[in-house]
């Protein structure tokens, strides 16, 4: 019998069946696509961004990075916002909401002027969207009045958030660009302008690969290429960092309260960036996000990945004893502290399991060439020997070892004269 756990969650006052959403992108650009994703189990959609501007796209427009034969480590996308007529998109949104009243439909919009933002907000309102997301972050727009050029300008973020919030009562989410020096400033500006929350991250400006046939980047468009957005598994660490930092900013909740935009959970972040599995999703929830948005993994594998996100998340909650998502949302935030506050009084030795060891010597090579020459190599037995006097407990060896549970957490050694306390260490490695 499959594990039953309630994955429903309130997001900005809207009831969501689960926290799994499509992000505004090629994966949710028409009625049929979104209908299929709903049937597959997705809780909602951030519909592909609608503008007054209608995109004229290049061909080809995608590329991917790989490592050691493993494709799609990261993904590059040159597509802009919707290339369909503005009205057509709002028709889709209207019809989807009518046919799937229990699913959440978010209209993603992007204007190039105050008036355009107001017009789009009005149309989203009339189309019956549950929520509106403002795209302040697409890095490959062909106009500097839109996209990430707007998202890095705090005055414009605030002004356009205000334009939308003054036009409609539907809660407004500002989607942030990671192509910035810090995200807290534009996030605060959005809330000041009247947004109810932010979502992050949009894609990172990138050159994924160089093509030596044409001496340009990838993808090759008539012998040329352009810098454009990078996404997928490779960007997840960057995305988690931005989400955690915005969630840890105390100003956000103050501004929300002042604006009467707090729906009872403080800042309700939506997490985006490299999510493929329930575990990725759980990680974003653990840094405080109330839902996640996915594109790249769907481009690679299709909508069906949500089946294992739902099932896997339920098993995770069952294993941990959680009954609802709110039981663990934000659980990691108190334990993410500044580097200067970490306890630096001890070192943790690695522990080697000589029976599991296959004798490859990778720990020996990495320790010698990249750490502290603290592993000796028994040439006859082909096994590592830890030199405790030289070991600094960096665990590079543990990270390069190819064998499951061969190198694990060992004894704790206290630095001279430091105060001993109870130390929490990691014991189980995937």
């Amino acid at each position: 019998m499959a594990v039953k756990k309630d994955l429903s969650i309130k997001y900005l006052g809207v009831d969501c069946e689960n926290p799994f959403f499509l992000s505004s992108s090629p994966v949710g650009g028409c009625y049929d696509m979104v209908a299929k994703c709903f049937e597959t189990g997705w809780g909602g959609v951030f519909f592909k961004t609608v503008g007054i501007f209608v995109a004229d796209e290049c061909s080809p427009r995608f590329d991917q990075t790989n490592k050691e034969g493993l494709p799609w480590i990261g993904f590059k996308n040159m597509e802009q916002i919707s290339d369909k007529p503005t009205e057509k998109n709002f028709e889709y949104i209207y019809k989807l909401k009518k046919d799937y009243p229990d699913k959440v439909v978010v209209a993603s919009i992007m204007g190039s002027s105050d008036k355009e933002w107001r017009d789009l907000a009005k149309m989203a309102d009339q189309a019956g969207a549950d929520l509106i997301e403002g795209n302040f972050s697409c890095p490959q727009m062909t106009s500097h009045d839109m996209g990430s050029d707007v998202g890095t300008n705090v005055e414009l973020v605030e002004a356009y958030s205000k334009a939308v919030s003054e036009t409609t009562n539907i809660p407004f989410i500002a989607k942030m660009t990671p192509n910035c020096k810090n995200m807290e400033e534009p996030a605060r500006a959005a809330i000041k302008g009247g947004a109810a929350a932010v979502s992050a991250i949009n894609t990172i400006k990138s050159i994924t690969n160089v093509d030596f046939e044409n001496n340009t980047g990838m993808p090759v468009v008539n012998g040329k290429s352009s810098i454009s957005g990078y996404s997928g598994a490779a960007v997840k660490p960057v995305a988690l960092r931005f989400c955690a930092q915005v969630m840890q900013d105390p100003e956000m909740n103050k501004l929300l309260k002042a604006n009467k935009k707090d729906f009872g959970y403080g800042h309700e972040m939506s997490g985006i960036g490299g999510i493929e599995t329930w575990r990725d999703a759980a990680e974003f929830l653990s840094v405080g996000c109330r839902n996640v948005q996915v594109t790249t993994a769907i481009m690679q594998y299709g909508y069906r990945i949500v089946e294992d996100m739902i099932s896997g998340m339920r098993h995770f909650m069952d294993e941990k004893g959680y009954n609802k998502l709110d039981d663990f949302i934000g659980c990691v935030l108190p334990n993410l502290i500044p580097a200067e506050e970490l306890n630096r009084d001890f070192k943790v030795f690695p522990k080697f399991d000589n029976k599991k060891c296959v004798g490859c010597g990778r720990c020996y090579i990495s320790c010698y060439d990249a750490a502290h020459q603290a592993i000796d190599w028994d040439e006859k037995k082909r096994r590592p020997i830890l030199l405790e006097d030289d070991c600094v407990g960096c665990h590079l060896c543990l990270n390069v070892c190819p064998v499951q549970d061969c190198i694990t957490t060992g004894e704790i050694k206290w630095k001279k004269g430091r105060k001993k306390v109870k130390v929490a260490t990691k014991q189980h490695f995937d």
Binding site: L70, V358, G359, C360, R362, Y364, I365, E379, P402
Partner: protein, 421 residues
């Protein structure tokens, strides 16, 4: 239900890697500090290094490593008994299964061909001494290549029309296609080695050379002394395989029995099957565990629908003029009461090869079995004469022949430079 494979006699049985699959396989490699695979190769092909090159997107560098260490790298990639050499030594065995080293080697050499790489170059300045290599098989080719790389003028003699020895005449092409052998030999030719083919070398011709390497291999037919072996349709393995590869319309017969338990026996059976024989069986006098053949080759034979019977030794061949059947008796203490009679039009004895009489060719001491007495470094009893490969070791693998040819080349260079024998 079993699924019997269909294959063509001249088509390579196994597909190779492409860039992606090669990279996936190379990514499985643990990149060991003291790569035991490299220790495991008799010819010093250094898989540890060439797999690392593939992993770091340098397939051309991988091809260089292979070619520099093993002049027959393309052929060895197909026919080496990896499961007893490099792959058996692979550290990854401790996790799941070894890296497919042979297949990666094949991939790298295929890149060499695609990019028309010319890895090896003989020095422009030649040494004055000349060396003759008798036989154009693996040992001689390896010896010739090493000498040519060192600047010596080398001539290879072989009585056959084509170079390659056992690689050209004694292995089924599904396992080792001729174009792969030819590509390897082209590398030897590219070093300026001269080939005199299609006629027996005369002892007087060898006098003009400062050193002689004897790598004539074992081509003498070994047929057990039982009744009926003079009947039409009885073959020694080498002769059977050679006829299959050289005669255009070679017919193996409808019912073929192959006697033996090595790779050569499997090659004979596969050859017979792929050339149209309906009923092909391998009969071996011991068990499969004891058989010297490679398990993957036996498995391939099975997949083609070839039967394998063990613990039965041939007792007589029956027929008038032509072979009609072969009789077998069981093994002492195991199956000694068993008897077997198999109908056959053809019976192939793949029970090893013997030395031919070449006492006129080179004045070197021989063993009782007529093989050349030589040290591990290829030195014979006579100054100026060196030897290696099957004619010394009694018939082993191609990679071991390459190793012995390389060793002998070192000895020859030492002899030519210092007169040390």
């Amino acid at each position: 239900m079993s699924k019997v494979e269909k294959a063509k006699y001249t088509a390579e049985a196994q597909a190779g890697f492409n860039h992606r699959t090669a990279m996936e396989e190379a990514a499985r490699c643990l990149l060991c500090h003291d790569a035991p695979c490299s220790e495991g190769c008799p010819a010093g092909t250094d898989p540890g290094k060439f797999i690392r090159s593939i992993r770091f997107r340098n397939a051309k560098g991988a091809a260089e490593t292979i070619r520099e260490n093993n002049i027959l790298g393309g052929s060895c990639a197909r026919i080496c008994p990896y499961d007893r050499l490099c792959e058996e030594a692979c550290s990854r065995c401790g996790i799941d299964k070894p890296i497919q080293i042979g297949k990666l080697q094949r991939y790298a050499i295929e890149q060499e061909k695609i990019f028309k790489m010319k890895t090896l170059k003989a020095p422009a300045k030649k040494m004055k001494e000349k060396v003759a290599c008798v036989g154009a098989g693996p040992a001689s080719l390896a010896c010739a290549a090493e000498l040519a790389k060192a600047g010596y003028k080398v001539t290879v003699f072989d009585r056959e029309e084509k170079a390659g020895g056992v690689m050209t005449y004694g292995i089924v092409p599904t396992r080792l296609p001729q174009k792969v052998v030819d590509h390897d030999i082209a590398q030897v030719k590219g070093l300026g080695v001269k080939f005199v083919l299609g006629k027996k070398v005369k002892p007087a011709e060898l006098e003009a050379f400062d050193a002689v390497f004897v790598g004539v291999g074992l081509w003498g037919a070994k047929i057990p002394s039982i009744k009926g072996t003079n009947l039409k349709g009885v073959y020694a393995a080498a002769d059977f395989l050679k006829q299959a590869r050289t005669k255009k319309a070679f017919k193996p017969g409808k019912k073929v029995v192959v006697v033996g338990g090595g790779d050569v026996a499997v090659d004979c059976a596969v050859t017979a099957k792929l050339l149209g024989a309906e009923d092909v069986r391998i009969v071996y006098r011991r068990t499969l565990e004891e058989a010297p053949g490679n398990m993957t080759e036996f498995q391939y034979a099975l997949s083609l629908g070839i039967g394998i019977t063990t613990n039965m030794a041939p007792s007589s061949v029956v027929g008038t003029n032509k072979v009609e059947a072969v009789k077998f008796k069981g093994r002492a203490k195991v199956t000694e009461k068993s008897e077997l009679k198999l109908e056959a039009n053809t019976v192939v004895f793949a029970i090893g090869q013997g030395a031919e009489d070449f006492s006129n060719l080179a004045p070197v001491k021989l063993t009782e079995k007529g093989m050349v007495k030589a040290t591990a470094k290829g030195k014979t009893s006579t100054k100026k004469y060196f030897a290696g490969g099957d004619i010394v070791n009694g018939g082993k693998t191609v990679v071991e022949a390459v190793a012995s040819g390389k060793e002998a080349a070192v000895s020859i260079i030492e002899f030519l430079q210092k007169g040390v024998k």
